[in-house]
Amino acid sequence: MKDVDDKFRKDTEKQVPLREELKPRKVTTPDGQEIDIDPLRDYFCDAKPKVHPKAYSKIVEDFYNWARSNSLWILGFGTGCGAIEMRPLMTPRFDAYRYGIQWRPTPRQANLLVISGYLSVKTLKRAIRAYEQMPSPKYVMGLGSCTINGGMYWDSYNTIKRLDDYLPVDMYVAGCMPRPEALLHGFMELKRVIREGKGEGANTYAENFDQYKVNQKAVIKDWDMPDYNW
């Protein structure tokens, strides 16, 4: 392994210019009206996430948690290599559906985001948007070494090293990549955590929202979306 070049300094000066289509401008509509648009403001809803309150009664909350734990709906977004072990889970051999786990095509229908391994900065941006679009209560599961401490891309310039800096993670599964059986173990463990009322990732995110945004913006240099979009 080559030694690190101590003299190398990252370029912190240069800024990424805003893309042309995101700049505020005047537009003529098909029916001839002229309107001002500011894409970054107009196209998104801009409000901070809120902490999801607990039910008044413990019994009711326990019931909710039981119900939540038994309907883990996963967003079918294969962010990295681990996605390839999802297919055996979706299909009869490992059949995760029997445990109430299924894959959904859109974040609006999902409550579990599985980060399947490394996240490049480009995907991180999409993953954040996908996560924020998911309805609360929602959970994040990190697969493999890469989400824990960088994994084998520990020295890569383009992948994040610690997922928990950018998204609140409820469960990690070790492996590179984890086997479907290990994933199922992870889902079962996540269910247990949710049943115990400890699946508080979404609330953590809402509580420490500003810190998460600082971390996210530190690596996503072309941040061209509002801070919160759902």
């Binding site: 990424v16 960088g150 383009n158």
Partner: protein
């Protein structure tokens, strides 16, 4: 392959070829003759398949090497054409000659080279568009003077709690701590000498 190179040698400046395998040869060509050679090889000699186009950064020699790997499918011969470009530090200052009109697929390679090495190919379609990276502001990452670990350390946080000991140093600390460390002794000598 040798006959082909002999034929070309009359009209073009070729470097000494490397016959790597029976079906693979590398040869250096001059930049201003590249296009003519490529066209001739493609249209006359049957080297119709551009396998890949990539660059090698010879930073010590101040050169970028472009490797055009072309393949004659009928004869099963691959020929790697090397073109040496002067290496400019400023990304985009080094330019190559686009061949996207010979092979449209070269446009993709040229986009990548522009992004990853900072070698520009004026006239190549969408060559300035972001290809793989997004919002990249640093040196083109495949350049040798870009240190990926240093960049990573300065950008991302690692999980704390790691630390290592070198067996040699650890044994010295525990078994014979008073003994001067040989390397340090040498440095001490040198410094005294200064």
């Amino acid at each position: 392959m040798r006959e082909l190179l002999y034929r070309l040698k009359d009209r073009y400046h070729l470097g000494t070829p490397t016959f790597q395998r029976d079906d693979l040869t590398f040869v250096t060509v001059k930049r201003d003759e590249l296009r003519a050679i490529l066209t001739e090889l493609r249209d006359v000699e049957g080297f119709t398949h551009l396998t890949f186009l990539t660059a090698v950064d010879w930073i010590e020699e101040g050169l970028f090497q472009l490797t055009y790997m072309i393949n004659n499918r009928e004869a099963n011969q691959s020929l790697g054409l090397r073109v040496m470009l002067t290496r400019e530090d400023e990304p985009g200052a080094t330019t190559g000659d686009t061949i996207h009109d010979l092979w449209p697929t070269a446009a993709t390679y040229q986009r990548e080279l522009n992004e990853m090495f900072g070698i520009n190919f004026p006239g190549s379609p969408r060559v300035d568009e972001e290809f793989i990276l997004e919002g990249w502001t640093d040196l083109p990452p495949y350049r040798r003077d870009f240190d990926t670990l240093a960049y990573s350390q300065q950008t991302y946080r690692e999980r704390p709690g790691r630390g290592r000991s070198d067996p040699k140093a650890h044994m010295q600390e525990t078994l014979y701590p008073d003994y001067p460390k040989p390397r340090e002794a040498a440095h001490a000598h040198k410094e005294e000498a200064k």
